[in-house]
């Protein structure tokens, strides 16, 4: 039944996914609002000034921005039905994403062992919730990307896999957009 209407189906699927992304942005908005409210409630503990390592965070930002770009190149390759390039660009995207998550986990671990966990203050609870929710999205995206790439590698590019790749790249661009605001509101303004 779904096979019967292939051409309009693609745009409908993408529109449905877009609506999901918009609601997900509202989830992030509530977490941003919580963070903005609790930002100064450090409960005598350290604030962003003492905690954030800016060159480290800039590196994370660059990794994610570049991965957003390479996922776009992957989509262009998918529309050209170039399987090898799809695997190459999305492979690079996945590696950059993995590097980003690893750096974030390292930062979280570092904060935790120094005694600055989410239990330290309202500021840190909001920080871990906001940044952690984004990191969770990235991790789920990586899982999705890995399974999809295995499928493309094994079965090649079909209408269905190309559609899934385009949804995945929308998701990935969207997460980069959210990160711009985490980078700006949490980190840059945190040390400004």
């Amino acid at each position: 039944m779904t096979q019967a209407i292939p051409s309009t189906d693609v745009t409908k699927t993408e529109f449905g996914f877009w609506i999901y992304l918009m609601t997900d942005l509202i989830l992030f908005a509530t977490l941003f609002a919580t963070y903005a409210v609790l930002k100064n409630n450090t409960f005598g503990g350290p604030g962003g000034h003492e905690l954030f390592n800016m060159p480290f965070v800039l590196t994370e930002t660059m990794l994610l921005l570049t991965s957003s770009y390479t996922s776009g190149l992957g989509i262009l390759a998918a529309h050209r039905l170039d399987k090898r390039k799809v695997l190459l660009w999305f492979g690079i995207t996945a590696l950059l994403g993995l590097a980003f998550v690893s750096m974030e986990l390292y930062e979280f671990h570092h904060l935790y062992v120094e005694g600055n966990s989410w239990r330290r203050s309202g500021f840190l609870s909001a920080f871990f919730t906001l940044v952690g929710t984004h990191g969770l999205h990235i991790s789920i995206g990586l899982l999705w990307m890995t399974t999809l790439l295995v499928k493309v590698y094994r079965k090649g590019l079909s209408t269905a896999t190309i559609r899934k790749l385009s949804l995945l790249s929308m998701f990935w661009h969207f997460l980069d957009v959210v990160w711009i605001f985490i980078f700006t509101i949490v980190y840059l303004i945190g040390v400004a």
Binding site: I26, A29, V37, M62, T66, Y69, L76, L188
Partner: protein, 128 residues
């Protein structure tokens, strides 16, 4: 190689092209590094710095929405754009509304506990 991609994809406006992605990427890089240097090199300070940095982030939002997510370049009934604008409105209400309410609460909370008690008593006697 890039010329070949360029030529074959330029016509497919809705799907984005190599030039669009590259332009978006370079603009994003400039905006990110600009905001970063404004903070770390103390180019500005105080509220001007905060406003400038948020302005650069919003600019980058538009750059990525246009060049990466192809927003506003769809064919006529632009439901994606409509959904996006509605979302921006909701986000604005949620974020600004929360900050407004909580700051107001915080302002009233600048009383000492005994002051707060007497305040609550008078309010109670007046009838809420």
């Amino acid at each position: 190689m890039s010329n070949h991609q360029h030529a074959s994809l330029e016509s497919e406006a809705g799907l984005g092209s190599y030039t669009a992605y590259t332009t978006g990427f370079i603009l994003s890089l400039i905006l990110t590094i600009g905001a970063y240097l404004a903070v770390t090199e103390n180019l500005l300070s105080g509220n001007i710095l905060v406003t400038a940095v948020i302005g650069l982030a919003i600019l980058q939002l538009f750059v990525q929405m246009f060049f990466f997510l192809h927003l506003g370049r769809e064919s006529k009934p632009r439901w994606n754009l409509v959904a996006f604008i509605f979302m921006v409105m909701v986000v604005f209400i949620v974020v600004i509304g929360s900050l407004w309410i909580m700051n107001n609460l915080d302002y009233h909370n600048h009383l000492t506990p005994s002051e707060q008690d007497s305040y609550m008593h008078t309010r109670n006697n007046e009838g809420f």
